[in-house]
């Protein structure tokens, strides 16, 4: 398929879906609304709500809060994941001792921790950051752990024969290998950082996109809920594009998946 055809078809899907939504939410069929406005709003109202948020500027404050929470959750979660992943991978005994607890905590649906974090850390950004950290940490941790464990023994032996000390092996072999695994899960972990922030806000906060959605829901403002959802997904897509750029730069040494060269 040509690029332009593809784009046209993609736009067509959006036009059809939004058109149908608008039609069934505003024009009665056999004297009944298929999509009652009270529950479904309509695209025009949703769009004007978004425009109103940006015109008045209220949205920026919420966006910035959510962005900060996501960044902090990602940074702290990744740092912790890298350090603990490294530590466990290099100390199999420590890993063996903690193994059941790691599995237990990871098995827990993280949303149930939100009330605890709110109690401990209040309604400010830190309770959301904490929720995001619990999500990001485990993804990064498991990947780094795997990355350090699965360093090729030939590459390791080569490093040793070239005269590397343990510290140099760390720096030139283990570390890049672990980072490559971490970066390969970058999309997932960044996504989870945003999930943590938004869910945390939704469950109790005073600002952020999740708060915006929760507030609109509280007064049965369905347009507001949908508008919040659209802004949130656009926000995630933008962040994801940024991640792709970073990834391309950092993982330049990795073969593309389809590269068949021996």
């Amino acid at each position: 398929m040509r690029r332009s055809t593809l784009l046209a078809l993609q736009v067509l899907v959006a036009v059809v879906v939004l058109g149908l939504w608008q039609f069934f939410a505003t024009v009665p069929v056999f004297e009944r609304m298929v999509l009652p406005p009270f529950f479904f709003s309509n695209p025009v109202d949703v769009f004007s709500q978004i425009v109103a948020w940006f015109q008045s500027g209220v949205i920026w404050k919420h966006l910035v809060i959510t962005l900060w929470e996501s960044i902090l959750a990602f940074a702290i979660g990744s740092l912790g994941g890298v350090m603990v992943g490294f530590w466990f991978a290099r100390q199999p005994r420590v890993a063996a001792v903690f193994d059941p607890y790691v599995k237990m905590v990871n098995a827990l649906p993280r949303v149930v921790l939100a009330p605890i974090f709110t109690l401990w850390l209040g309604l400010g950004i830190w309770s959301k950051v904490a929720l995001g950290v619990t999500l990001v940490f485990f993804i990064v941790f498991f990947n780094v752990y795997q990355g350090v464990k699965e360093v090729s023994t030939t590459v390791l032996d080569n490093g040793r024969m070239l005269g590397m000390s343990e510290r140099q092996l760390m720096r030139h072999v283990y570390w890049p290998s672990a980072l490559s695994w971490m970066f390969s899960s970058l999309h997932t972990s960044v996504g989870f950082a945003v999930v943590g922030a938004a869910v945390g806000e939704y469950l109790g906060s005073a600002a952020g996109l999740g708060y915006l959605i929760q507030q609109a829901e509280g007064v049965f403002d369905v347009s507001g809920v949908f508008a919040g959802m659209f802004v949130l997904s656009a926000f995630v897509i933008l962040i994801d594009m940024g991640v792709t750029l970073v990834e391309r730069r950092l993982l330049i040494w990795r073969p593309a998946a389809a590269d068949g060269r021996g």
Partner: protein, 274 residues
């Protein structure tokens, strides 16, 4: 052999055994006696799975023999063999480093300034014919090019002993010949002691001063030792045409053939047992 100088590598009755998962002991190599003199190129040939690589790992210090001794320039080997450069059979380049960084690393870890290390690495890349490929990552290079980078990575450290484990095994026939000639050319410059493992008898005779034959494993032994007196410098593809080459090949092959058959029989039996 020069008796005044100790051998570069000397294995004396080295036995290597591994403990298997079910607590049995598998003896890979038994009482191997092998010496590589200064500047000597020794090839080890044997059927697949006979423990050739094991012997090389012992010389490198990556494996400890269960009994017997390993001496490097007369000194008993403890830990890794710091005088040796090792060219592995599998890909051993650091995939996250460019070709030039892969070569420079050997100097950088010794504390050489980065600028200087990169400059010399570039020089080595040029001498293995990859001067224009310094910025490529390993996955962007062909198998033969990666071997060249590997060779430069090992040689830049100027090791006194070169250990090579079927380094050209995965390459196609033409590339193998080209790599063989490149190796001989580089080796001719300063004549390091070389221990070269291969399963290809022709390659061994074409390259080496001495060809050592190992029996089929387990408990593989060294069963033959031939001196190759073909004149140097040699060209790998031309030396194969010579009469002496053929005679030597026939002589060694008559011994090796039985072992290869034994090796096959054993590995197929082992496969049936599994």
């Amino acid at each position: 052999m020069d008796t005044a100088q100790p051998n570069a590598v000397a294995l004396d009755d080295a036995t290597v055994a591994f403990r298997l998962a079910d607590a049995r002991v598998y003896t890979a190599v038994e009482k191997a006696k092998l010496a590589v003199a200064h500047g000597e190129f020794v090839a080890i040939v044997g059927p697949t799975g006979c423990g050739k690589s094991t012997l090389l790992n012992v010389a490198a210090g990556l494996l400890k023999p269960a009994s017997g001794s390993v001496r490097i320039f007369g000194q008993p080997l403890t830990g890794l063999n710091r005088d040796a450069g090792y060219l592995f059979q599998a890909d051993a380049l650091f995939p996250w480093k460019t070709a030039v960084d892969n070569v420079a690393i050997g100097l950088e870890i010794k504390g050489a300034p980065r600028e200087q290390a990169l400059q010399r690495a570039q020089g080595w890349l040029t001498s293995v014919g990859l001067g224009a490929f310094g910025n490529r990552y390993p996955h962007m290079l062909s198998g033969g090019q990666r071997k060249r980078v590997g060779l430069a990575q090992v040689l830049i450290r100027d090791p006194k002993i070169l250990l090579m484990d079927e380094p050209f095994g995965p390459l196609d026939a033409q590339t193998r010949q080209i790599m063989g000639n490149l190796l001989l050319e580089l080796w001719n410059a300063d004549r390091k002691a070389v221990l070269f493992v291969t399963h290809d008898l022709e390659e061994a005779i074409a390259l080496a001063d001495r060809v050592v034959i190992m029996s089929a494993g387990p408990s593989a032994r060294i069963i033959g030792d031939w001196r190759v007196s073909l004149p140097r410098p040699r060209d790998i593809s031309e030396v194969r045409m010579e009469k002496d080459f053929h005679e030597l090949h026939r002589e060694i092959w008559s011994v090796l053939k039985d072992e290869v058959m034994k090796g096959y029989a054993q590995s197929s039996q082992a496969a049936e047992a599994v």
